[in-house]
């Protein structure tokens, strides 16, 4: 490998933006409605620029990105129905803020993968870092390996399906949506959740505040089997269901200071 001699100068403008002069490289090999490009030599903004150019301007439906090399913020903000395949690992915030695309990552992702997804599908073939599917609004996030801590923190919809195990505080403050964790989960499962459902296949180290076991219904069986069928994952393992105990619901109660005023 080369000697390191130059300092990589990243310059920020007053708004905190970088690489303002990044141009779209337009290096993809296009074949009908499919395109392939190698991201090895490109910067983050150039990779995302190329993706946008292909999907929005040329109307390409099927893009393959080679060598993403674990860089951050790739494939973010895509608001169109299309299929994107990353032939390698992504860094932090991969496929965040998307609405519509079907993304396949043949590698691993870092923290906050598919955060704020509105709709679409993100399938990760390997492991994911912490905060996978943070503030997920809709769509499906499928992780075939293990995930880190706080999976689906603040989740407001959609489904997170993890074949491996998950870390601490899974489903922390989730408000809606579903999670299926086939492996073990760490301490504090579903801590402070408002609503939603978490299915766990393995051992639960400890339940978080106001997370309680739920009653299994036929609708649960149908839902889990459907998700496993869609992604070709075989038959689902035996799962336990966890929901919100709603003991922390105090919306109608007055604050102690207010109560004095009323009484």
């Amino acid at each position: 490998m080369d000697q390191v001699t130059t300092t990589e100068e990243v310059l920020f403008d007053p708004r905190g933006l970088v690489e303002l002069d990044a141009t779209v490289p337009k290096i993809s090999e296009i074949d009908g409605d499919s395109a392939v490009f190698d991201a090895h030599e490109l910067t983050t903004r150039k990779i995302n620029g190329e993706l946008r150019w292909l999907i929005y301007e040329l109307g390409i439906k099927n893009v393959t990105v080679k060598n993403p090399s674990a860089r951050h913020s790739l494939g973010t903000g895509i608001l169109s129905r299309c299929k994107i395949t990353f032939e390698g690992s992504l860094g932090y915030f991969g496929c965040g803020l998307i609405d519509g695309p079907e993304i396949q990552v043949n590698g691993r992702v870092g923290w906050s993968c598919a955060e704020n997804m509105m709709s679409g599908v993100v399938v990760i073939e390997s492991n994911a870092g912490s905060l996978a599917g943070a503030a997920l609004r809709g769509g499906d996030l499928v992780v075939k390996g293990q995930v880190g801590a706080r999976t689906g923190i603040d989740q407001k919809g959609g489904t997170i399906l993890v074949l491996g195990s998950a870390g601490s505080m899974t489903g922390f403050m989730m408000q809606r949506g579903r999670q299926i964790i086939c492996g073990d989960v760490g301490p504090g499962l579903g801590d402070s959740m408002y609503d939603g459902t978490i299915y766990v296949g393995g051992k639960v180290k400890s339940l978080g505040i106001d997370c309680v076991p739920g009653e299994w219904t036929d609708a649960d069986t149908e839902f889990v089997e459907r998700k496993f069928r869609i992604y070709g994952l075989g038959s689902p393992p035996e799962l336990q269901k966890f929901v919100c105990g709603k003991k922390l619901y105090n919306y109608d109660n007055l604050e102690p200071s207010e109560r004095k005023l009323v009484l």
Binding site: M1, V4, N127, A149
Partner: protein, 312 residues
């Protein structure tokens, strides 16, 4: 935020470009902290012979008219104090204007030697060991590596730190890694915040340990040193630290032949691991590991409350 990294080669020999590799890793994480960069690098040990890195003054401290003369005086004073305690000095190098490196043979008490040298005003012993060399200064990895000529460093394993100062000043005293004074060849880098810093600092100061900075991370190094002084192994000391240190942290501790990581019970700070037969690399972000292993690799995040130790 801070970026931490560690690399250990398992296939012996000790002939690896750890200086260059660590620079590549830390430079890739420059966005996690551009304030200062530090290295703890290890070469094959030579028995009896010690390497000592000494800071003579702060890189960004106050400079009065006789600053150069003062540095020269301190340089002479440090050298004469080492000789005075019966050490056989082999080599004295001015690493930079405000730092120096000494190589000497010594069979006396190391704590006494370090204390005596640090008694010179403004002087801090950054590291002292058979194989450990701590280099830390302001700027990003390439700046520090160029200044201290680390690209040519050949050794066995290393850890590094790219700092974003949150709890204390931007200067060399508050930069990582921290040497586990007075233990030769033990160093620590940390990403996070410790909330029971003052409690531990008072406790450890009563036990006779010295603190060179206001940085909460220094506690970890001194804490591990204290536990090992009481007979704990590195791994036991690290496990114990999970209970006794509060806050959010991921830290990497390194000794002459081992490298270990510990993560707090919330798993709040990142660390990505890559293990293979000939190399173990760990960093806050995978992008750093990919600078030294440039291909698709299988990596994972260790879970909360985990302690792992690898030996070379």
């Amino acid at each position: 935020m801070c970026g931490i990294a560690g690399i250990i080669y398992r296939n012996g020999g000790g002939e690896h470009h750890v200086g260059r590799d660590m620079t590549l890793m830390l430079q890739a994480m420059k966005h996690r902290g551009p304030d200062s960069t530090g290295y703890a690098l290890y070469r094959t040990a030579t028995p009896n012979s010690y390497v000592m890195h000494v800071k003579l003054a702060e890189a960004n401290g106050h400079r009065d008219f006789d600053f150069d003369e003062k540095l020269r005086r301190q340089r002479r004073e440090v050298e004469s104090r080492v000789r005075e305690l019966g050490a056989q000095v082999h080599d004295v190098q001015p690493a930079t204007e405000h730092a120096m490196t000494m190589v000497f043979d010594h069979d006396g008490d190391l704590k006494r030697l370090a204390d005596y040298v640090e008694d010179v005003r403004g002087v801090e012993v950054l590291s002292l060991g058979h194989s450990l060399e701590i280099i830390k200064d302001l700027g990003d990895a390439v700046t520090v590596a160029t200044e201290y000529k680390l690209n040519d460093f050949v050794g066995t394993h290393a850890i590094g730190h790219a700092r974003m100062a949150t709890e204390s000043d931007v200067d060399i005293a508050n930069a990582h890694p921290y040497w586990a004074y007075p233990f030769p060849d033990v160093a620590v880098v940390h990403n996070g915040q410790l909330t029971n810093y003052h409690q531990w600092r008072r406790r450890l100061e009563r036990a006779g340990h010295r603190f060179q900075s206001e940085c909460d991370s220094e506690i970890i190094a001194v804490y591990l040193a204290e536990r090992m002084a009481q007979g704990d192994s590195l791994e036991d000391a690290m496990r114990q630290s999970l209970d006794e240190l509060d806050g959010v942290f991921t830290y990497i501790c390194v000794t002459e032949d081992a490298l270990g990581m510990a993560k707090d019970e919330l798993g709040a700070k990142p660390l990505v691991l890559y293990e293979s037969d000939d190399i173990v690399a760990l960093a806050s972000e995978e992008i750093a590991i990919r600078k030294v292993v440039d291909r698709e690799i299988e990596t994972y995040d260790p879970y909360e409350s985990e302690v792992m130790v690898w030996t070379r």
